[in-house]
Symmetry: C2
Subunit: 154 residues, 2 copies
DNA sequence: TCTTGACCTCAAGTGAAGTTGAGGTCGTAT
DNA sequence: ATACGACCTCAACTTCACTTGAGGTCAAGA
């Protein structure tokens, strides 16, 4: 099938077309479908057919991944949308704002870690109880019992 | 054996003692040894005995991990030390300075990502070619062909 | 008709950083 | 003498996000 034939512009997409247009591998698309992140119907010959908005869904997934959001969380977020619809601009605003908060948190943790490291490079002590890098239980990062935010790569 | 008997202060440590004093699991110590991060000799009864400086080595490993350095890299760094000695304050200064650069880089990437996201939350476009979040090939993070720094969780 | 290419399913492999379990040994306290 | 805890090895399992491979189907072009 010719790619980008103008007459086909509103037709659903095969898995290969989705792969080409979204930049992800075919196997990844299968995988996302198995995880419920995207959906397809089947042609008479049992081939997947994707509505065009799958491209936007994949875009959202990819951006969320760059933000460090795990696939399972992305899947959950997408399921909160009415009818499992593809995120509108409004939906995206809500989702991305939430994810941005996690990102902020992670940046804050890493920044504190860096500052602690800066203080510590000179001393070379690494002494337990004195060195802020040694035990994660101080203000460097709220750890210990209690709720835990998005894994800050501790 | 009583723990912390003053008479034993200069003896080598069993794996259980190392675990207790370093706060890592026994299985983790086995694992680190298998990866060449630490070393031990064996007692007459085939039990591991660790020189005391293993505690400092483990401290270095743990801090490096918090910085996001993969174990394989830590292992390599430790091997660059003469005789595979445990890092001195001077060694630590050198190693941690290098790792701090990676950390800085990661923070910079995440910060740019956040800024891009901030600009994008309002628009909700996610349009390829316009949205800075969509393609990682712009100044957001130097990708594409060429050397690649420490994986910025793309 | 035959071959090619895109597609299908399902199972298994990858790598990081360990954890868990089975089955066995060592040494000491009772 | 025996029980107990700490130790031993080795293999297999875990999670995440996929990739790879084997074996099979389907439709179109030469």
């Amino acid at each position: 099938m010719a790619i980008l034939d103008p007459a086909d512009m509103d037709k659903d997409l095969s898995v290969g077309e989705v792969a080409e247009r979204s930049g992800v591998a075919v196997s990844t698309i299968h995988f996302y479908e198995s995880k419920g992140l995207i959906a397809s119907w089947r042609s008479s010959g049992n081939q997947r057919r994707f509505p065009r908005d799958v491209l936007r869904r994949i875009a959202v997934i990819k951006v969320a991944q760059r933000l460090g959001v795990p696939l399972a969380t992305i899947a959950q977020a997408l399921k909160t949308l009415p009818d499992g619809r593809t995120p509108t601009a409004e939906d995206w605003k809500r989702l991305s704002a939430a994810w941005k908060a996690d990102l902020d948190e992670r940046i804050a943790v890493l920044t504190k870690l860096r500052d602690g490291l800066e203080d510590c490079i000179g001393c070379g002590c690494l002494s337990l109880g004195e060195c802020p890098l040694r035990n994660p239980w101080d203000e460097l990062s709220e750890d210990g019992p209690g709720p835990r935010l998005l894994d800050p790569r501790r």
